[in-house]
């Protein structure tokens, strides 16, 4: 399960990501998201948690 965080924090994060995706543009959004995921994986330094997030994100696409 992905942890529940305060909705205001999640909302702000979601807005930040939305604007970054728009700023990357449709051509580069995949590359941007790949870079972001790699950077977050480095910050996280825990591939078990990363694996949980990957599995959760792959569901119901």
């Amino acid at each position: 399960m992905i942890p529940q965080i305060p909705v205001t924090t999640l909302e702000a994060a979601s807005d930040l990501l939305a604007e970054a995706i728009d700023s990357a543009g449709p051509e580069k959004e995949a590359l941007f998201l790949a870079k972001l995921a790699l950077a977050l994986a480095a910050h996280l330094d825990d591939n078990a948690v990363l694996g949980t997030a990957v599995a959760a994100a792959l569901a119901d696409l």
Binding site: L31, A34, K35, L38
Partner: protein, 565 residues
């Protein structure tokens, strides 16, 4: 059937191909002698296996399909371990003389240097981490040795067309310019390369992974004012999403490797005008658009494949016939050279009645395990160099993109190079408890390091082709007398080398001794006075004891030869 090899010298801008005469062997005059070993293939691995066998007094016949050495730079890079093996075969000098030594490389992305790597090199190491030399020279130097060696019968222009074996011998059908004959041998070695006919004749399947990307290799003659190093360009403007490798070779030859766009065929890629344009673009990218001529070009795709077993009855597979490895990390010939080093003494010991049948099986066990590890490592580099899917490509591009602004992904650009394998799990090793009692030094299975000694020689200079017991201490060290007695009684040839403690007088009873000035070697081996290392003919440790017992030595030697005593 008559086999007609091309007798016109191959075209080359730098290399004078020598055409070797076909000489009719005894078999074409009715002879039917059974040879000890027949080696199919006269590439680096086949020739080195023959030279290794000759060092052990074993005669071999080497069958070369062509009458001249191969076309193109191909293997191109020898790593230090390969040079050490060539050194121990007594054939390294022309390689060191001709080859270009190097130790590092740089990677570029969008015109910026984003990664620099230097391969480890310690003061006193005899050979550089890597030596660039074209395969033409590798084959020339080794075939010159083979031609001079009375224990090697190198037969040019001989193509193998059939193989059969029984409990007694292997029989190979051979086509030659003067007709066909049957070659009989106690054992055969398949060193017939990536497209091995013997592998096909036996119906053997390789396991592993073939990668989809295709690459061009082009050898060009040009005077570039650049040092010998590995240059790698990711995603250059002229080849978006792909990469280019540039290596300097002797004789002003430069080798360029680049990946093709996915939808392009090998024929399209080798079309002269397109190839010319791409080479021009590469030279501009390197910063030196100077005049050049093309020497040779080919297309290949990367694979990481291996046979699951290398020994099939009386036939042993070596080199590319046994495994196909991607070029990234220079593993092809370097892995084959380690195969030959592992196989030659085992085959010789079996033929000389010193080793049990398990010894040949251990060649397969040890090398298959080594190659599976190499495939795993090579796979990582290959996935970065030639991403096999959109996902891998996206993540590779993400890592590259970060290299321009952040440091954390740079190590993903590390090109893992071939390295000597540790036969940790080998059945030829003995006494794990004694091994574990050491706090440093080469563990069992590991190769002995070629340490420089105070007199300017190197440790491997003191190791001949047989088993060695390397002892530390002096003539009075307690317990050494009994060990020497056991060594002298050994049925398996064993030389005892004393690394004599500095300042102690020469000792008696050893086959050789060198003063260990400053305890340099003892320290590197984690050795105390009385410590002994048992070293196999291929220079790998198979047992070590801080306090050896004669019975343990005897047992370890038997285990290392898969012999029942």
């Amino acid at each position: 059937m008559v086999h007609c090899p091309d007798t016109s010298p191959r075209p080359s801008t730098f290399y004078d191909y020598r055409v070797h005469p076909f000489r009719a062997p005894d078999e074409l005059r009715g002879g039917a002698e059974r040879h000890s070993v027949a080696i199919v293939g006269a590439g680096p691995t086949g020739l080195l296996t023959a030279i290794g066998l000759a060092q052990h007094g074993v005669h071999s016949v080497v069958l070369a399909q062509d009458v001249q050495v191969s076309h193109g730079s191909r293997a191109a890079v020898l790593v230090r371990r390969s040079m050490e093996i060539l050194q121990r075969r007594g054939v390294v000098d022309p390689f060191a003389g001709k080859g270009l030594p190097w130790s590092g490389g740089r990677s570029f992305y969008r015109g910026q240097e984003v990664y620099r790597m230097t391969m480890p090199h310690e003061e006193g190491q005899r050979h550089p981490p890597a030596t660039n030399v074209q395969q033409q020279y590798i084959e020339e130097f080794l075939s010159d040795v083979a031609e001079r060696e009375p224990l090697i019968d190198l037969r040019w222009g001989s193509r193998v067309t059939s193989f059969e074996q029984d409990g007694e011998e292997a029989r190979l059908g051979v086509d030659t310019p003067e007709g066909a004959y049957m070659l009989r041998a106690s054992y055969a070695v398949a060193a017939d390369g990536g497209r091995s006919d013997l592998r096909r004749m036996l119906g053997l399947r390789m396991e592993g992974r073939a990668y989809s990307g295709r690459f061009v290799i082009a050898d060009i003659r040009i005077d570039l004012p650049l040092p010998t190093e590995r240059l790698c360009y990711f995603d250059p403007d002229w080849n978006p999403g792909n990469n280019v490798l540039v290596h300097r070779m002797p004789d002003s030859l430069w080798r360029i490797d680049f990946r093709l766009p996915d939808d392009e065929t090998p024929e399209q890629a080798l079309e002269p005008e397109l190839l010319r344009q791409r080479i021009e673009l590469t030279l501009r990218m390197v910063g030196h658009p100077l005049p050049w001529t093309l020497d040779w070009a080919t297309v290949y795709s990367a694979s990481a494949l291996t046979l699951p077993r290398y020994v099939h009855g009386r036939l042993a597979f070596v080199g590319d016939a046994a495994h196909l490895l991607p070029i990234f990390g220079v593993r092809g010939a370097n892995t084959g050279i380690q195969d030959s080093d592992n196989l030659a003494w085992k085959l010789a010991y079996v033929l000389r009645g010193l080793g049990g049948p398990g010894l040949l099986e251990s060649y397969s066990d040890e090398r298959v395990e080594a190659v599976r590890e190499i495939c795993e490592e090579a796979g990582k580099s290959t996935r970065f160099m030639t991403p096999p899917s959109r996902g891998y490509r996206l993540m590779r591009d993400a890592a590259l993109s970060f290299t321009l602004s952040e440091a954390f992904t740079k190590d993903l650009l590390h090109w893992r190079t071939a390295r000597p394998h540790d036969y940790r799990t080998s059945l030829l090793n003995s006494d794990p408890a004694a091994d574990a009692a050491f706090t440093s030094g080469p563990r069992f299975g590991a190769p002995v390091p070629d340490i420089r000694l105070a007199d300017g020689s190197h440790l491997l200079d003191h190791l001949g082709p047989d088993f060695h017991l390397i002892c530390f201490g002096d003539g009075d060290t307690q317990g050494m007398g009994d060990l020497l007695k056991a060594a002298r009684r050994s049925r398996i040839p064993l030389r005892v080398l004393l690394l004599r403690r500095e300042g102690t007088p020469p000792a008696t009873g050893y086959d050789a001794q060198v003063e260990d000035t400053g305890s340099n070697v003892a320290d590197r081996f984690g050795a105390l006075p009385g410590t002994a290392y048992l070293v196999r003919p291929d220079g790998h440790v198979c047992a070590r004891w801080l306090r050896p017992e004669p019975a343990a030595l005897k047992q370890a030697l038997a285990v290392a030869c898969a012999a029942q005593e």
